[in-house]
C-alpha cells in the first residue's frame, strides 16, 4: 500500500505543471491533464488489487508530521479502507473518463482559444483536493480537501468569467457552500474540544465511550456535521447553488456537480456514522432532509427548459435518496447508490455535453427535438442513463441501488419516508423521460453535427456499460467499515412485492411522460396556459422559489444592516485621527521651506532648546 500517496500526487503535479505553464500547446496540456488522472487511475487499480488480495482492513500512511503543538500531534496521513477505496475508485475512474471527454469537449468549445491549460489545471487540482478529502485520516485534512474542492468548484463555475452572470453564479456557489463549511468547522471544534483529537478513527472509537445514545453533545456534533454535508451536497435548505453551478463547462458539471464533489456530504456522514448513530434525532433529520429535497428537486426538474438544469435537479434528488438511505441507517446502500449514481449521472452529463456541442451551444430542450436520427450514440447513452436514473427494472444499475434504498426505508420502519421516496421515483421517471422525449423525439428544429473521435466515444460507451446492470454487479467492499443497520421487520416476500411495486411505478412514470410529451403535447400546453397552471409552472421552475425567499429573508436584511453600518459613528469618531494626522502633516510640511537659512535657524534654535533643557532638567 506504500504507493497510496501517488494517487493525490499525480493530479497535484499535473495541476502545478499546468498552472505554471499557461501557454502550453493544447495537445500537451491535454496530455498532462488527462494523463495525470490516468496515472492516478492506474494507481487506483493497483490499490484495488492489493486491497482485495490483502486483509481488507484500513491502512494508514503517514507522510509527515503536519502539526505539532505541545502534545497535540497531527500527521499528514492518508487512510485507506473500503469506504475511501470506493470513493477513490469513483473519483479517479469516473474522473479519468470525464477528463478524457473534456479533452474533446474543451477543444470543440474553445475552438483554439486560450484557457485550455487553465481548465485542466483547475480540474486536476480538483481531483487532488477531492482525493485528500476522502483519504484524509483526520478531519483537518478532510477539511483541507473540503475547502479545496470548494475553491475549484468556484473557479470552474466561473470558468467563462468574461460573462458576468457566470461570476455571480460562482459567487453564489462559494458563499452558500461556505455557510455549510462554517457548520462543519464548528463541528470540528466541538469534536476537538470534546476528545482532543481530530483523527477520525480515534473519534469513532472514543465517541461511543463518552456519549450515550441521544446525548445533547452528540446531537449537536452530528447536527454541525450535517450542516456541512447539506451545504456541500446541495440539500435543503442550502440547495440553491447547484442549479446555478451549471454555468461551468459541462464536463465540470459531470465531474464536480454530479459525480464527485456533491457526494462529499454523503461521504462525510457515512464516514462519521458512529456519531450519527448516537444522535437519533439528527439521523431522523438526515432522512427527512433527503426526502424533502428529492421531492422539491423532482418537481423542479419537471419544469426546467435547460437540459443541464434538469440534470442538476435530478442530481439533487438522487443525493436526496442517498441522504434518505443514510437517515434510515442503510449506510452501505447509500454508498452503493453514490457509486451507481456517479456512473449514470456522469454519463448523462457527458452526453448532454455532446448534445450541446452538437447543437451549437444550444441548451434549451425545446429548441432541440428529433435528435435521435442524427445523434445515435448520444441517444443510446441518454436512454441507458435515463433508464438508470429512473431505475427501470432489471436492466439498469439505478434499479438495484434505488430499490434497495426504498426497501430498507420500508423495512426499517420509516413508512412515510418510503412513501415520499416512492413518489419521488415516480417523478424521476416522468421528468427524465420528458427530457428524453423532448430532446430526441418530435420535430427536428436544429441541424446537429455529431461528435467524433475516441475521446468522445470511449468515455460515453464505458459509462453506458457501467450504467446498466453491469455496474450494479460491482459491490463496494464496505463490510468492515459500515455496520449493517438495524434488523428488518419484513421478509423476502414483502421485499419482492415492494420491488415489483417500485418497478411498476417507474414504468408508469415513463408511460405518463410518453403520453404527455410525445407527439403534440397538447394537454401539457393547455394546462400551462391556464392561470393556475402557469403559476404552478413558474413555482416549480424556480424550484419552490427558494431563491426569492432567501433574497427576502437573508440577503436583503443583511444588506440593510450593512447599509446601517456605513454610517458608523464609532468609525466617524475614528476618522478624526487621520484628520489630525493630515493637519499636523500640513503644518510640518510648511517647515520644509527649502531655504538654507531657515534650516540653519531651526537647527540653532533646536540646539539652544536642547541645551537649555539639558541644563534645566
Amino acid at each position: 500500500m506504500n504507493i497510496l500517496f501517488l494517487t493525490p500526487l499525480f493530479p497535484l503535479l499535473g495541476a502545478l505543471v499546468l498552472a505554471f505553464n499557461p501557454r502550453l500547446p493544447d495537445r500537451i496540456a491535454g496530455l498532462v491533464g488527462v494523463g495525470s488522472i490516468g496515472l492516478a487511475a492506474l494507481v487506483m487499480v493497483w490499490l484495488n488489487v492489493t486491497f482485495y488480495g490483502g486483509a481488507n482492513e484500513g491502512v494508514t500512511q503517514t507522510l509527515w508530521q503536519w502539526v505539532a503543538v505541545e502534545d497535540f500531534r497531527m500527521g499528514f496521513s492518508l487512510y485507506l479502507d473500503g469506504l475511501s477505496l470506493t470513493m477513490v475508485s469513483i473519483i479517479t475512474g469516473v474522473g479519468f473518463l470525464i477528463h478524457l471527454f473534456a479533452a474533446w469537449y474543451m477543444r470543440e468549445d474553445l475552438e483554439g482559444g486560450p484557457g485550455f491549460a487553465r481548465f485542466f489545471a483547475y480540474m486536476n487540482l480538483f481531483v487532488f483536493s477531492m482525493l485528500l478529502l476522502v483519504l484524509g485520516d483526520n478531519l483537518f485534512l478532510l477539511y483541507l480537501g473540503w475547502e479545496g474542492v470548494g475553491l475549484c468548484s468556484y473557479l470552474l463555475i466561473g470558468y467563462y468569467y468574461e460573462n458576468e452572470n457566470n461570476a455571480w453564479c460562482a459567487f453564489k456557489a462559494f458563499i452558500v457552500t461556505r455557510i455549510g463549511d462554517v457548520f462543519l468547522a464548528i463541528g470540528m471544534f466541538l469534536l476537538f474540544a470534546q476528545f482532543g483529537t481530530l483523527n477520525i478513527q480515534e473519534l469513532l472509537r472514543l465517541a461511543p465511550e463518552a456519549w450515550g445514545r441521544g446525548d445533547l453533545m452528540a446531537e449537536l456534533a452530528a447536527l454541525m456535521l450535517l450542516g456541512g454535508a447539506v451545504g456541500k451536497s446541495a440539500q435543503l435548505p442550502l440547495q440553491t447553488w447547484l442549479a446555478d453551478a451549471m454555468a461551468g463547462p459541462t464536463p465540470v458539471s459531470a465531474l464536480i456537480h454530479a459525480a464527485t464533489m456533491v457526494t462529499a456530504g454523503v461521504y462525510l456522514i457515512a464516514r462519521t456514522h458512529v456519531i450519527f448513530e448516537l444522535a437519533p434525532m439528527t439521523l431522523g433529520l438526515v432522512g427527512l432532509i433527503g426526502m424533502l429535497t428529492l421531492l422539491v428537486a423532482g418537481f423542479a426538474a419537471l419544469a426546467q427548459t435547460d437540459i443541464k438544469r434538469v440534470l442538476a435537479y435530478s442530481t439533487m434528488s438522487q443525493i436526496g435518496y442517498m441522504f434518505l438511505a443514510l437517515g434510515v441507517q442503510a449506510w452501505d446502500v447509500a454508498i452503493f447508490h453514490l457509486m451507481t449514481h456517479a456512473f449514470f449521472k456522469a454519463l448523462l452529463f457527458l452526453t448532454s455535453g455532446s448534445v450541446i456541442i452538437a447543437c451549437h451551444h444550444e441548451q434549451n430542450i425545446f429548441k432541440m427535438g428529433g435528435l435521435r436520427k442524427t445523434l445515435k450514440l448520444p441517444y443510446a447513452c441518454f436512454l441507458i442513463g435515463g433508464a438508470a436514473l429512473s431505475a427501470l427494472p432489471l436492466i439498469s444499475a439505478g434499479f438495484y441501488s434505488k430499490d434497495e434504498i426504498l426497501w430498507l426505508a420500508f423495512d426499517h420502519g420509516h413508512t412515510w419516508l418510503w412513501l415520499g421516496a416512492l413518489f419521488g421515483a415516480f417523478l424521476t421517471s416522468v421528468y427524465t423521460f420528458r427530457m428524453i422525449f423532448i430532446v430526441f423525439h418530435g420535430r427536428e428544429q436544429i441541424h446537429p453535427h455529431a461528435g467524433q473521435g475516441l475521446a468522445h466515444h470511449v468515455p460515453l460507451i464505458v459509462l453506458a456499460v457501467l450504467s446498466t446492470f453491469v455496474g450494479a454487479m460491482i459491490h463496494p467492499p464496505l463490510e468492515n467499515v459500515l455496520p449493517a443497520g438495524p434488523e428488518g421487520q419484513f421478509g423476502h416476500s414483502v421485499q419482492l412485492m415492494l420491488e415489483i411495486l417500485a418497478a411498476v411505478v417507474a414504468i408508469v412514470g415513463v408511460g405518463i411522460a410518453a403520453g404527455l410529451f410525445l407527439g403534440r403535447r397538447r394537454l401539457v400546453r393547455s394546462l400551462v396556459q391556464t392561470k393556475e397552471g402557469d403559476r404552478l409552472w413558474r413555482f416549480f421552475n424556480s424550484a419552490f422559489a427558494f431563491d426569492w425567499l432567501y433574497h427576502r429573508v437573508v440577503v436583503r436584511p443583511f444588506l440593510f444592516i450593512g447599509r446601517l453600518h456605513r454610517l458608523d459613528w464609532v468609525n466617524s469618531l475614528m476618522n478624526l485621527w487621520p484628520g489630525l494626522a493630515l493637519m499636523l502633516n500640513g503644518l510640518l510640511s510648511d517647515t520644509q521651506s527649502g531655504r538654507l537659512r531657515w534650516y540653519a535657524a531651526v537647527m540653532t534654535g533646536g540646539a539652544i532648546a536642547t541645551l537649555l533643557l539639558l541644563l534645566l532638567l
Binding site: 494626522a581 493630515l582 499636523l584 502633516n585 510640518l588 510640511s589 517647515t591 520644509q592 527649502g594 538654507l596 531657515w598 534650516y599 540653519a600 531651526v602 537647527m603 540653532t604 534654535g605 533646536g606 540646539a607 532648546a609 536642547t610 541645551l611 533643557l613 539639558l614 541644563l615 532638567l617
Partner: protein
C-alpha cells in the same frame, strides 16, 4: 608605540580601502575607464570585507589610543563595507549614462567608506572627529555629483553648510569635555563627574553639543530639516549610501559613546534623547504622509526609523546593543534595496532621477521583479511580520518594554501605524494600472546587471531574515559579547 603584526592585521580593512582609493586615483590619472575603476573599487571593498575574517583572529585589540578594533567594530565594518559595495554596484549602473567624468565618484565613495570604518572603531574623540569628517566631506561632493542638475547641486551645498555647522558643535562640545576632563578618550570622559568634582554644567554642555552634532548626522528632530532636500537632490546611489553608511557609522559610534563614556550617565541627557526620539518618530512619519516624491518619502521615513532606534540609546543596556545590531542590519538591507530599485528605475542617468511617485504607477505590469522587491521592502519598512523589518521593530519594542520606556514604546506603535499609510500607498501605486502618461522605466536589461541581482538578493535576505532570524541574532550577540 610599537606596531606589531597583529596591529597591522587589525588595521587591514582600513589599509586596504586606503590603498584602493589611491590605486583608483592613480588609475584615473593614468587612463579614464569607467568599468575598470568600478571594478577596482569593488575588488578593494571585497578584499576589505574578506580581511575582516583575518581581523577576527586578533580582536579585541587596541591600536594606538585612537582605535579599538573589537567584534562590535568588525560587525559594523562589515555592514558599512556591504553598503559601500551595494552603492558601488548601483552607481555603476547609474553612471553609465552620466555625461561627465564618472570615475571620481568611486574615489569619493572609497574615502567616505574609510571614514565610516574609522568611526565604528574609534574609541577616542580625535578618531571620532577624523572619521566623521572623512565620512562627510566626500559626501558633499557625492551629493552634488550631478552638479549640472540644480537639485543635486542644491542638496550638496545644503548638506555641506549644515554639516559644517554640526561639526562646529561637535568640536566645541569636545573642547568643553576636554577642558573639564583633560582627556579625549571615551572612557576618561567625565570620569571626574563620578568623583564629584568639576563643573557639571560644562560637561553637560559638552556632551549635549556632541549629541546635537550626531543628531544632525542621524537627521533627528529638530535637526532634520536637511534630510528630505538632500535625499531628494542627491543621485539615487548617493542617497542609498548616505542613508546607510553614514547612519550606521554615526549610530554605532553614538552607541559606543553611550555605553562606554561615564559622562553619558546623566539622567537629563537620557531624557533629552528620549524627547528627541519621540519627536523624531512623530515628525518623521507625519511628514511622510502625503509625500509624492519617493526619495523625500524615504528621507522622512528614515527620520522616523532613527527615532525608533534611538529608543535603544535611552535604554543603553545589553539588549540595546543587540537591538542596535539587528535593527541596523535589517534597516540597511531594506533601505539599500529600496534605493536600489529607485536607482535601477532611474538608471542609466538621464538628467534626473525618477523620484515622483506617479512614475511608479503600474511598475508591476512592466517590471514585475522590481515591483516585487519594492513591495517586500515597503512591507519590511512597515514592520510587517515575515520580513526582517518586523524582527528589528520587535527588538526595539522589546528593549523599550524591558527598560520601561512606555512613552517611547507608545511612540513606536503610533509611528508604525502612521507609517503603514504611506508605505502601503507606495505599494498600491506599484500595482495600479499604468496610465498613458510618459513613463520612466528601468532599462530592459536591468536583470542582467549586477544591480538587479543585488536588489533581488537583498529582498530574499529580508524575507529569509524575517522568517528565520536566528543566525542574525546569533551573529550580533556574538559580536557584542566579544
Amino acid at each position: 608605540m610599537n606596531l606589531t603584526l597583529s596591529h597591522l592585521i587589525a588595521l587591514l580593512p582600513l589599509l586596504i580601502v586606503c590603498v584602493t582609493v589611491i590605486v583608483v586615483m592613480l588609475g584615473i590619472a593614468w587612463r579614464r575607464h569607467h568599468v575598470v575603476t568600478a571594478s577596482l573599487t569593488t575588488i578593494g571593498l571585497n578584499a576589505a570585507l574578506v580581511s575582516l575574517l583575518a581581523v577576527l583572529t586578533v580582536t579585541p585589540i587596541r591600536v594606538s589610543p585612537l582605535l579599538l578594533v573589537d567584534n562590535y567594530a568588525v560587525l559594523y565594518m562589515a555592514l558599512i563595507l556591504i553598503a559601500g559595495l551595494a552603492s558601488t554596484t548601483l552607481a555603476h549602473a547609474y553612471l553609465e549614462g552620466f555625461d561627465d567624468q564618472k570615475e571620481e565618484f568611486y574615489m569619493l565613495l572609497g574615502c567616505s567608506v574609510l571614514g565610516g570604518l574609522t568611526m565604528v572603531a574609534s574609541d577616542h574623540m580625535l578618531s571620532l572627529f577624523f572619521g566623521l569628517e572623512l565620512l562627510s566631506v566626500p559626501l558633499y561632493g557625492m551629493a552634488a555629483y550631478a552638479y549640472r542638475t540644480r537639485l543635486s547641486l542644491e542638496s550638496g551645498i545644503k548638506y555641506m553648510v549644515l554639516s559644517a555647522a554640526a561639526s562646529a558643535f561637535l568640536l566645541f562640545g569636545m573642547a568643553l569635555l576636554y577642558a573639564e576632563s583633560g582627556s579625549l578618550a571615551f572612557a576618561d570622559l567625565g570620569a571626574r563627574l563620578t568623583e564629584g568634582g568639576g563643573h557639571a554644567s560644562w560637561l553637560l554642555m559638552g556632551i549635549g553639543m556632541m549629541v546635537i552634532a550626531m543628531a544632525f548626522k542621524l537627521s533627528l528632530v529638530p535637526f532634520h530639516l536637511w534630510t528630505a532636500d538632500v535625499y531628494e537632490g542627491a543621485p539615487a546611489p548617493v542617497t542609498a549610501f548616505l542613508a546607510t553608511v553614514s547612519k550606521i557609522a554615526v549610530f554605532a559610534l553614538l552607541m559606543r559613546l553611550f555605553m562606554s563614556a561615564p559622562v553619558t550617565d546623566i539622567a537629563s541627557l537620557h531624557t533629552i534623547v528620549a524627547i528627541i526620539a519621540f519627536l523624531s518618530m512623530m515628525v518623521g512619519n507625519l511628514m511622510a504622509l502625503r509625500q509624492d516624491n519617493i526619495k523625500r518619502l524615504m528621507g522622512y521615513s528614515s527620520i522616523g526609523h532613527l527615532g525608533y532606534l534611538l529608543t535603544v540609546v535611552v535604554a543603553s543596556d545589553d539588549l540595546a546593543l543587540l537591538t542596535t545590531g539587528i535593527y541596523l542590519i535589517t534597516y540597511v538591507a531594506t533601505t539599500l534595496a529600496t534605493f536600489g530599485v529607485i536607482a535601477l528605475v532611474s538608471s542609466p542617468w538621464q538628467g534626473s532621477d525618477v523620484a515622483s511617485l506617479k512614475f511608479y504607477r503600474g511598475l508591476f505590469w512592466r517590471r514585475p521583479y522590481l515591483a516585487a522587491v519594492m513591495t517586500v521592502m515597503m512591507l519590511s519598512l512597515a514592520g510587517i511580520p515575515m520580513t526582517a523589518g518586523f524582527i528589528g521593530k520587535f527588538y526595539v519594542l522589546a528593549t523599550g518594554v524591558e527598560a520601561q520606556l512606555w512613552w517611547l514604546v507608545a511612540g513606536v506603535i503610533i509611528g508604525s501605524a502612521l507609517s503603514l499609510y504611506y508605505y502601503l500607498r507606495v505599494m498600491v501605486m506599484l500595482y495600479l494600472h499604468p496610465t498613458e502618461e510618459e513613463q520612466y522605466d528601468a532599462s530592459s536589461d536591468w536583470g542582467q546587471r549586477a544591480g538587479g541581482i543585488m536588489v533581488i538578493l537583498l529582498a530574499l535576505a529580508v524575507l529569509v531574515l524575517g522568517i528565520y532570524p536566528q543566525p542574525m541574532i546569533m551573529l550580533v550577540s556574538s559580536a557584542i559579547l566579544g
